[in-house]
């Protein structure tokens, strides 16, 4: 059942799914209508508009069934590693042992949005003294307390050091509640001093060799702990295989961004691209399925690009987006305002960078960890965003603040100043998105529409000039 690309609501998707099934659609075990997740409590899905491709349905189903998958892994005797904060490095180590599965409890930060706060996770965090002056990732505390959203991991790790003081405070509260954490540190990345050996990282930053050695030592400790958990040491061969798998996923995600940024009309909506960007971080606890899902999406997008088909008006204004949104509905809103996302640093952009394969695996993972744009100064991150804006030819920039997130307190101004210096006429706006943002929508809309209006006026001005 071929259909032109469009964005559809949940009810329409369910009807379409029934038709696709009758027409012979085959799905993996976690497939099925999206509506079943809403019936299970994921109420926010009813407010969203989704891409209508079967490949996108598979993406949603993969993401929304992670809890089932984790439980199944545990039932099969696998050991669960809960990685926190680093976003993309620890899974490279854990998946080196076939007995281990790695996931991010941090992912619970979307639960209050998806369940429209019926989960009560933020209330639990409030009662634990972690109130809304902290990042919404505090929902993770509630998930540990209620034990309803993921199985309690056999081993917990958390990176600390350079960024996100609020996250560290949340993780310390978790530890106080009786969940031991294996801490490791990513130091504040600095420019190598005169005479210091310098290393260029996969994300383009440079760091002193000494810092890389320090991070690598922390990862060695993790590897030792993972080896104990798996019942055998983590081998170089296992790490190498894990990195190769990760690189295949990373390359697919990067390819999707390249296709989406370059094509007109936009072939895949922002909401699905946000989901795509999460996958290289942790593979939704199943690297093979993640790879297959992304391959199907890439094929779909290639078909659309070849056919000149897309989901948005051809004149949509291309914006670059910074930071993830706590309310997924905002990804729809940006497109309703006449924009399209042509590039993003959702805070896991480093998980799309290829992990070096020509060096010792632990050093490669250390490079990825230290190369996290958040591990350096806000100016470092801003300059990288500037380079990305130039690369994807964005016409506007939206910096989305995460309420309570310590890194968001001042980075917006730094990013704005850097972009204003480099692109004096590029409209920039800062927004703040709480987990359920319905009440803020008029003001969010005004800011995003203003960016679109200014960018369109610039476009018209350029056309008049020529």
């Amino acid at each position: 059942m071929m259909a032109l690309p469009e964005k559809i609501d949940l009810e329409t998707w369910d009807a379409r799914h029934a038709g696709l099934r009758r027409a012979g659609l085959t799905e993996p075990w976690y497939g099925g209508p999206l509506g079943r997740h809403a019936a299970d409590g994921d109420e926010r899905l009813r407010a969203l508009r989704f891409d209508n491709a079967p490949a996108s349905l598979r993406l949603w189903n993969l993401v929304l069934t992670e809890e089932d998958r984790l439980q199944e892994h545990r039932d099969q005797g696998k050991r669960l590693v809960g990685a926190m904060k680093d976003l993309g490095a620890v899974p490279l180590l854990a998946f080196a042992a076939p007995e281990l599965v790695c996931f991010y409890p941090d992912g619970a930060w979307w639960t209050p949005c998806i369940m429209e706060c019926t989960d009560g996770l933020l209330n639990v965090a409030d009662r634990l003294g972690i109130d809304d002056t902290f990042c919404p990732v505090r929902a993770m505390l509630g998930a540990f307390e209620t034990q309803r959203h993921f199985p309690i991991p056999d081993l917990l790790t958390c990176s600390t050091g350079t960024a996100c003081d609020d996250f560290t405070a949340i993780a310390r509260t978790l530890e106080r509640l009786g969940h031991p954490i294996l801490w490791w540190e990513i130091p504040h990345r600095r420019t190598p001093g005169p005479g210091e050996e310098s290393v260029t990282l996969p994300t383009g930053f440079t760091a002193p060799r000494a810092q890389l050695t320090f991070v690598k030592a922390g990862l060695e400790r993790l590897c030792a702990a993972f080896g104990e958990l798996a019942g055998h040491p983590i081998t170089t061969g296992g790490l190498h295989r894990s990195i190769l798998t990760a690189n295949r996923v990373r390359a697919l995600a990067e390819e999707l961004w390249r296709l989406v940024a370059c094509a007109t009309p936009c072939p895949l909506p922002a909401l699905e691209m946000l989901l795509v960007d999460v996958l290289p971080v942790h593979f939704c606890s199943d690297p093979a399925e993640t790879q297959a899902t992304l391959q199907e999406l890439v094929a779909e997008v290639r078909r659309r690009v070849a056919a000149g088909a897309g989901v948005l008006a051809p004149d949509a204004v291309g914006v670059y987006w910074v930071n993830p949104v706590a309310d997924l509905r905002v990804m729809n809103l940006v497109e309703e305002c006449g924009a399209r996302i042509v590039g993003a640093d959702f805070m896991f952009a480093h998980a799309r960078a290829e992990v070096p394969v020509d060096i010792e695996p632990l050093e490669a993972v250390a490079q990825i960890a230290l190369g996290d744009p958040m591990a350096g100064t806000a100016q470092d991150r801003a300059r990288r965003i500037g380079r990305e804006i130039a690369r994807c030819r964005a016409e506007g920039l939206v910096v989305s603040r995460i309420p309570g997130a310590s890194h968001c307190a001042s980075e917006g101004g730094v990013i704005r100043d850097e972009i204003a210096r480099r692109f004096p006429h590029l409209p920039v706006t800062e927004i703040e998105v709480p987990p359920v943002a319905d009440a803020c929508f008029p003001t969010l809309r005004t800011r995003i529409e203003a960016v679109v209006e200014i960018a369109r006026e610039r476009r018209n001005h350029a056309l008049r000039r020529h």
Binding site: G413, A420, P424, H425, P427, V428, T429, E430, E432, P442, T443, R445, T446, R447, E449, A450, E453, I454, E457, R458, H461
Partner: protein
């Protein structure tokens, strides 16, 4: 050609009719805000037409702006208040490079380029401390009208220091100031200065002059001076500053149907 601009703000709805051929405002009016924004705007619009002896069919295009613009379903299109204020100011003051707009719910600072288009903007809507709502709360607490606020501030000898950035806590501070015997003029002046300082903070390190001050709060005597002090630059208040957004919307409506021979809207 007649065009209409409707500014559905958070505290007040403004409607303005503009004759593009005669280059003049035909009529304008405002109504206090309520929940049914669409109905309020519709009634105000048709009352203005009736009072001016005009037929709705004579209006070629309507643009709605402001916080509630999406509810004005009889408008041809919606445009943000950022673009509309810039257009409205450009009509009166074409050389302006910075606009400060303080409305009931939020405050904005817009930087314009040489052609009067918006180059950049910043907004404050995280709390009421930099907005007209702050002044309303204070006026209610002191038992004075908004019109009296400016005159009161003019009598101040030593403006009080309002340290809180939250309007609710600021109200508590005001209660404390009153209890400690602070004079109402000093409290009012302190509040106006606090709002100006918040707006000034949005401007960052540099402000491009000339600066225009629009929105309902610009009508309060004394605010202009406090804003000048805060920005470190001369500030111009255009005529009818609360109507600037509606004026800009009407002028932009004219660009929807630029040819005079275009037929009237249905």
């Amino acid at each position: 050609m007649l065009c209409a601009g409707i500014d559905a703000g958070s505290r007040c709805i403004k409607v303005l009719l503009f004759d593009t051929r005669a280059e003049r405002v035909v009529c304008a009016g405002y109504a206090g805000q309520g929940v049914p924004q669409r109905e309020l705007a519709h009634t105000l619009y048709h009352d203005l037409l009736r009072d001016a002896g005009l037929d709705a069919a004579a209006v070629r295009a309507i643009v709605a702006t402001g916080y509630g613009r999406a509810r004005i379903d009889f408008a041809d299109t919606t445009i943000t208040e950022i673009t509309c204020h810039a257009r409205g100011v450009r009509h009166h003051l074409p050389d302006v490079r910075t606009i400060v707009e303080v409305g009931g719910q939020d405050s904005k600072l817009m930087r314009l380029n040489g052609t009067g288009d918006v180059r950049d903007f910043v907004m404050n809507d995280r709390c009421a401390a930099g907005t007209g709502r702050f002044i309303e709360v204070v006026a209610e607490r002191l038992g004075v009208t908004l019109d009296e606020m400016g005159a009161l501030a003019g009598q101040s000898r030593a403006p009080a220091r309002i340290s809180s950035t939250c309007v609710v806590f600021a109200e508590t501070e005001i209660v404390g100031l009153l209890a400690s015997g602070a004079a109402p003029p000093d409290i009012v002046a302190g509040v106006l200065r606090a709002i100006s300082n918040r707006v000034g903070a949005m401007a960052g390190r540099t402000v491009d002059a000339p600066v225009a001050f629009t929105g309902g709060v610009a009508m309060i005597p004394g605010m202009q001076g406090f804003l000048e002090e805060s920005l470190g630059a001369a500030v111009i208040v255009p005529a009818e500053p609360q109507m600037t957004g509606a004026l800009g919307a009407a002028l932009l409506a004219a660009t929807l149907h630029p040819r005079e021979e275009a037929g009237p809207r249905a």
